[in-house]
Symmetry: C2
Subunit: 162 residues, 2 copies
DNA sequence: GTTACTGCAAACTTTTTGCACGACA
DNA sequence: TGTCGTGCAAAAAGTTTGCAGTAAC
């Protein structure tokens, strides 16, 4: 946990510095939203972040959370997770990584893998444009959902939910 | 174009067969929605499909298009493209493929590549769950946007729009 | 003291749902 | 003919925007 904790502290420090440099004001609300997402590895959506921050700032409004996340994303401090439809999710992990996505419950988890990092854009892609990043998405069923299914028996098998 | 055309005809045939087998009724609206998406390689969103179909069935309603696309997806005949946020997009190409995504304009194009098909889930992923599919996303700037930028000069450089 | 940020409310966009009429099998 | 699908309208969910007061610098 020490590793994760120091990473988190570092992220919050980086947020503060970047806000100062960008002449954006370092408000209580922004700091708490930044902390909320920096401590979170589950790619939360806006509503979830809002609920989390509200425990510390009960008067914060949902649109402030939206605006703050947009600002942090514009500064490149966090990234929109463009993996699933539905509510927008954010990711404070800017290190190169990939995603595992549960097709049952929508869970998204980071996958760090040197093998996947090594994947390069193929020649064919050059016809379409300039490739700047390569990300691999693994889709499947998470442990939790697999557990539920073996208990209840198969319930459904149709198309992708996520 | 003959290749693409026969592929398209085949898809529409597959749609009809699958609808019959699933005791879903073969209505005029469903057939035209199916045709619209079968002929399209640009991963259109619901609104775009609606506009396209409306040229042939001016009285069709947007929610019918929504419902039809949901039905086709539930039957596994088309897939939701889970690549970007924003409006949901659909893809009639069920062959294994990957995606190129323009971070400027949101364009999504299919990328077929044996090299990318060969990418396998790493060991680490087994801790998270059972991986069923692997898809690679290439993000970058498409030809059209690259052309615009070199004309107007750089206008912006902040985070991901898509 | 400025200027930017927040909270509130209202608007907007995308998607879903309830219901009565009409079409498919 | 019976059931399913459609169109309409209204609602729900997610997100953005305008404005007046408040807080940061």
């Amino acid at each position: 946990m020490t590793r994760a904790h120091s990473e988190m502290v570092e992220r919050i420090g980086r947020f503060s510095d970047a806000l100062k440099k960008s002449r954006l004001r370092l408000t209580h609300q922004r700091l708490e939203v930044a902390r909320e997402i920096a401590c979170n590895t589950t790619h939360p959506d806006v509503e979830t972040i809002y609920q989390g921050v509200r425990q510390r700032i009960p008067t914060i409004s949902l649109d402030t959370v939206y605006r703050t996340l947009a600002s942090l994303a514009a500064l490149g401090l966090i990234a929109r997770v463009s993996v699933s439809s539905g509510p927008t999710r954010y990711d404070a992990n800017l290190a190169r990584h990939h995603h595992f996505l549960c097709t049952r419950c929508g869970l998204i988890r980071d996958v760090c893998s040197a093998a996947l990092d090594a994947v390069r854009a193929p020649e064919e892609a050059n016809d379409l444009g300039t490739v700047e990043s390569v990300e691999v998405q693994l889709r499947g069923v998470c442990e939790a959902c697999a557990g539920k299914e073996s208990l209840h028996g198969k319930e459904e098998g149709h198309g992708e939910h996520w």
